[in-house]
């Protein structure tokens, strides 16, 4: 009978809506009750499955562009942006002070999640290059590779024009990062292979920061950024300058 009263509130607890006192009591109960903890685990599994399955639809590139254009019909004014940045910074400082303890724990969790993504990207890069057939669509022509992804991944993206550059496109393949479908492109520069990964930002399991990652962290040079709702990763054993150049080409094309 006692457990029935716990179970009636289990969803509230798992949704993070119980009071702190209730959460503590629940935690203690779950540690000692196999039945309730099995039930809680099952419900968490369902929550997680719905969360993944629910991120299903993405706007088309055309629709996104249309909306962005209609929203940006008036010119931005620099000083307002500055004011807003200042206000945002102030809010961040205040919020940071108030919630530092909470954020401390959370930021370390976020860091673990980010490291996990970077490590997965490095694994995908190495695993693919070690494969006997690293690409599914073999072409140096971006007009062949880009359409190949249509219907295979839930978003569209642009490939850069490589004429007059040191890079050449070898081809592409579909890839998955934590069950999230994405595009994997392989480029060649001075006998080095560089992978470019593209995923939907919101589908990734961690909030990532834009920028370069030092090679000592991954054994590769990597640059990552977000643009138009997509998260790009450029990774390889080529020089930082080459990685940066390819990233710039992608940024200009998107």
């Amino acid at each position: 009978m006692v457990c029935e009263s716990w179970k009636a509130k289990l969803d509230t607890y798992l949704d993070g809506e119980a009071s702190q006192e209730e959460m503590r009591t629940f935690d203690a109960h779950l540690r000692s009750c196999a039945s309730c903890s099995a039930d809680a685990l099952a419900r968490v599994q369902m929550k997680r499955a719905i969360q993944i399955a629910g991120k299903r639809f993405a706007p088309s590139a055309e629709f996104r562009k249309k909306m962005q254009q209609s929203m940006a019909s008036k010119p931005q004014r620099r000083f307002r942006l500055t004011w807003m940045l200042a206000a945002t910074a102030a809010i961040i400082v205040v919020a940071g002070t108030l919630t530092s303890a909470y954020l401390g724990t959370r930021s370390s969790r976020d860091q673990v999640a980010r490291d996990h993504v970077y490590s997965e990207i490095a694994d995908l890069h190495v695993g693919t290059l070690a494969s006997s057939s690293p690409v599914d669509v073999i072409s140096t022509d971006r007009h062949t590779v880009k359409p190949w992804f249509q219907g295979k991944i839930p978003f569209a993206f642009n490939l850069p024009e490589l004429q007059n550059s040191v890079f050449s496109l070898l081809g592409g393949r579909m890839t998955y990062l934590d069950q999230t479908p994405g595009a994997h492109l392989i480029y060649d520069v001075r006998k080095h292979h560089i992978s470019v990964f593209v995923f939907q930002e919101r589908a990734l399991p961690a909030r990532l920061e834009d920028g370069s990652l030092p090679p000592q962290k991954l054994s590769f040079n990597m640059e990552t950024w977000t643009q138009g709702g997509l998260r790009y990763f450029v990774i390889g054993d080529a020089s930082t300058a080459d990685i940066d150049s390819l990233a710039k080409l992608f940024k200009a094309a998107s």
């Binding site: 179970k7 009636a8 289990l10 969803d11 509230t12 949704d15 993070g16 809506e17 779950l30 903890s37 039930d39 809680a40 685990l41 099952a42 419900r43 968490v44 599994q45 369902m46 929550k47 997680r48 499955a49 719905i50 969360q51 993944i52 399955a53 629910g54 991120k55 299903r56 639809f57 993405a58 706007p59 088309s60 629709f63 996104r64 909306m67 962005q68 209609s70 929203m71 940006a72 008036k74 931005q76 004014r77 000083f79 307002r80 942006l81 807003m84 998955y176 934590d178 069950q179 939907q200 919101r202 399991p205 709702g229």
Partner: protein
């Protein structure tokens, strides 16, 4: 430099509304179950929100406000009206909860199901169950935010959410017992949940 109130308003609106674009589209597509209608719905939502932005009180929940506009626009659309004519929104609120079962669909889901199976079951849910599940699990809204978005009391949020989950579990069970569609995909989809910190 002179800046009109309208310009300031437009900039503030852009800053707040553009980051919600992908999420709102996903939600709209789930509601309408059609790409063109979802695009129209999102477009109309942004137009209405911009028009009514002056009435939005800064400091209150902008996300819930946007979702409320989208949902109300959907409910008054042809598809929305058709949906609500066939399903009473609050008919289920006072129905007692079913007891928790031991033979859980979640376990079967963990072992064998796949994302498409769950998505199909969610497609078949009544729209008021589908939307509350999406707001809670995908958008990770608090009960308070959901209450604001759906314009219902928190008690209704809790009971409707509970019924939605129960209905989904009930509908998944026979499908899961039929067997996997793509077992490999399912294994990958759900494998990570076991690491949840309980």
């Amino acid at each position: 430099m002179n800046v009109s109130g309208e310009d300031l308003q437009l900039d503030s609106f852009e800053e707040l509304a553009l980051p919600l674009f992908d999420q709102l589209y996903n939600f709209a597509h789930w509601l309408t179950q059609n790409r063109e209608e979802a695009e129209d719905l999102v477009q109309e939502t942004y137009a209405k929100a911009l028009k009514g932005f002056a009435s939005f009180r800064l400091g209150t929940n902008f996300r819930a406000w946007m979702y409320r506009i989208l949902r109300n626009t959907f409910l008054t659309s042809r598809t929305g009206l058709k949906t609500t004519m066939t399903v009473s929104l609050d008919a289920e609120e006072d129905t007692p909860e079913l007891p928790v079962e031991r033979d859980t669909p979640e376990t079967l889901l963990l072992e064998r199901s796949n994302r498409e199976l769950l998505q199909s079951a969610m497609d078949d849910l009544p729209v008021h169950f589908r939307e509350i599940l999406l707001l809670c699990e995908v958008e990770e809204m608090s009960y308070q935010e959901i209450s604001e978005t759906l314009s219902v009391p928190i008690g209704t949020v809790m009971s409707r959410l509970s019924r939605a989950r129960q209905t989904l579990r009930t509908r998944l069970r026979p499908q899961l017992q039929e067997g996997p569609r793509t077992a490999a995909a399912a294994k990958g989809t759900i494998a990570k949940v076991t690491n949840y910190g309980l």
